[in-house]
């Protein structure tokens, strides 16, 4: 086992990323110099207004939308909440049925639970063992009363990429509003809202080297949406609150950078991902790659290590200077196994042994190799401690610590 590196080996980029120095540079003037309130009329405010307009333009261009179709929010969660509640509210008289999938982020699933307590019917579509939603199943689930379909673009835990364009086509044919949670897709997948056929699309800056606490919701023109934050007339009356100018400039700078280097990112990060996956499969027995073998995000590695529990692996990785996670960061307070893995048919005790390593632009081959050098020993040590392992009879009984 190699020595612990000086710098943390960060492999949890799907939880959050560091703000890129270029992004921070772009943001800095908007804290203390060009700090004006974008809604005021004097010069200082016009600077802020211009920055907002420019940022909206940049984001719109990045996703093939029009500037007036962008609503800036406080993050992916607010975007998801606004999309679901906003459309559900607006179309209440038309129907009360919402279709989503079993593997959405909690920012979708928990909103659905909230809505179901308020009289909405929710259909949670199943996924196959790779985590893929069947577009035909979406079509079959649509009824007279369906007001919204919400299927994520790419899954945050296992990295599976959903067939959004096909689902979009079906929704369009059936005239149902279609939302997609694109929080994990930005910077990795091409996002052109017309090609994807989405009416609403959620984005969160901190997942692609932008700041935390700022996001956006794309809303196609004429999509019915009741605002969820009442107050001032910001964002054309669709999202009240003094605009977070610095954050919005950060989001725009980050998306421009992400789009510019997307191919490069996918090539570079994808190679690291493949090296990590192959290395784990070679070195460690009784493991299983979660998610789709090819239709997966270029930065996602997710394995179940049989007979051991995920948090124990994470703690050991942390002790060795590697930051990773088991599933989504926001559920790490919970003891339930991942709802995503369960929906994919993974047994609960195996799901408990899942670890997600999500790579980023600055990870190196050396770092991947370091992880590959320490992980087998960590797993072996934990297995030697596991009552399931000896029970499984797959190896000799454990030694003493």
């Amino acid at each position: 086992m190699e020595n612990k590196p000086d710098k943390v080996v960060y492999m949890d980029h799907s939880a959050t990323t560091a703000v890129h120095p270029k992004v921070l540079d772009a943001m800095l003037p908007y804290f203390s110099e060009r700090f004006g309130n974008a809604s005021s009329i004097y010069g200082l405010a016009r600077e802020a207004r211009r920055a907002l307009d420019q940022s909206r333009q940049t984001l719109a261009e990045g996703i093939g939308a029009k500037p007036e179709e962008i609503i800036f929010t406080s993050g992916g969660t607010e975007s998801d909440n606004l999309a679901l509640k906003g459309v559900a509210d607006a179309l209440r008289s038309k129907g009360n049925h919402i279709i989503t999938s079993a593997i959405e982020h909690h920012a979708i699933l928990h909103v659905c639970e909230y809505l179901s307590k308020r009289g909405y019917e929710i259909t949670y579509l199943p996924v196959d063992k790779h985590g893929i939603v069947d577009p035909d199943a979406v079509g079959r689930a649509i009824t007279e009363g369906t007001v919204l379909v919400s299927i994520m673009h790419a899954n945050n835990e296992v990295g599976t990429i959903e067939p959004i364009a096909e689902i979009g086509r079906i929704c369009k044919e059936r005239k149902v509003v279609f939302h997609s949670d694109g929080v994990q897709a930005v910077g990795k997948l091409p996002i052109k809202v017309d090609e994807l056929g989405v009416d609403l699309y959620s984005i969160s800056a901190h997942k692609f080297y932008g700041p935390k606490g700022v996001g956006a919701l794309y809303v196609r023109r004429r999509t019915p949406l009741i605002p969820q934050a009442q107050g001032g007339s910001q964002e054309r009356n669709r999202r009240a609150g003094t605009e977070n100018t610095a954050g919005i400039v950060g989001l725009a700078t980050a998306i421009a950078m992400a789009e510019e280097r997307r191919d490069d990112y996918n090539r570079k990060v994808g190679a690291l991902r493949d090296r990590l996956i192959a290395g784990i499969q070679e070195r460690i027995p009784s493991v299983c790659l979660n998610g789709h073998p090819t239709r997966r995000l270029s930065n996602n590695v997710n394995f179940c290590f049989q007979y051991v529990e995920g948090e124990s692996i994470l703690l050991n990785l942390d002790l060795m200077g590697v930051a990773a996670s088991s599933g989504s960061a926001c559920t790490s307070a919970s003891l339930e196994p991942s709802h995503v893995l369960l929906a994919m048919g993974v047994q609960p005790e195996i799901a408990h042994g899942s670890v997600r390593l999500t790579l980023g632009y600055d990870n190196t081959e050396q770092e991947v190799d370091y992880v590959l050098s320490i992980l087998p020993e960590i797993i072996e040590r934990l297995r030697s401690m596991s009552p399931l392992y000896s029970k499984a009879g797959a190896a000799a009984g454990g030694g003493n610590g």
Binding site: E309, S312, L315, L335, S386, P387, G397, G398, N400
Partner: protein, 126 residues
């Protein structure tokens, strides 16, 4: 999240292993919750002479298993039965709130091992 003492017991767990000719074996937890503990004891003169554990679970599960073995080793059975899951957590300087339920079963597991031992002894003496 975890105190230094918890991390110490997690990183260097005491008394890991099995006792092939154990006088009592206890198991608690279930794989759906993500925590399973198995404790082996060797009893002599009503005293827990040796104890070993195997645990599948999170940091808290491992640390409490390790801690409980230290707490009961050399104690009498009566003394061991007085030790509660809460006492183990306290001996570790506390556990995060969400870990108090499933992952804090080490004392329970020891009690089960003692039960197992007693049932065997009882069966033998009957």
């Amino acid at each position: 999240m975890y105190s230094d003492l918890v991390m110490d017991h997690f990183s260097n767990p005491r008394n890991v292993g099995e006792i092939p000719d154990a006088d009592g074996v206890g198991t608690a937890g279930n794989p759906v919750c993500g925590d399973i503990m198995k404790i082996y004891i060797k009893v002599k003169d009503d005293c827990i002479e040796d104890i070993k554990f195997k645990t599948f679970g999170c940091g808290a599960a491992v640390a409490t298993s390790s801690m409980v073995t230290e707490m009961v080793k050399g104690k009498t059975i009566e003394e061991a039965l007085v030790i509660t899951d809460k006492a183990v957590a306290e001996a570790l300087g506390g556990l995060p709130a969400n870990k108090m339920h499933c992952s804090n079963l080490a004392a329970t597991t020891v009690h089960k091992a003692i039960e197992d031992y007693r049932s065997k002894v009882g069966a033998g003496s009957r």
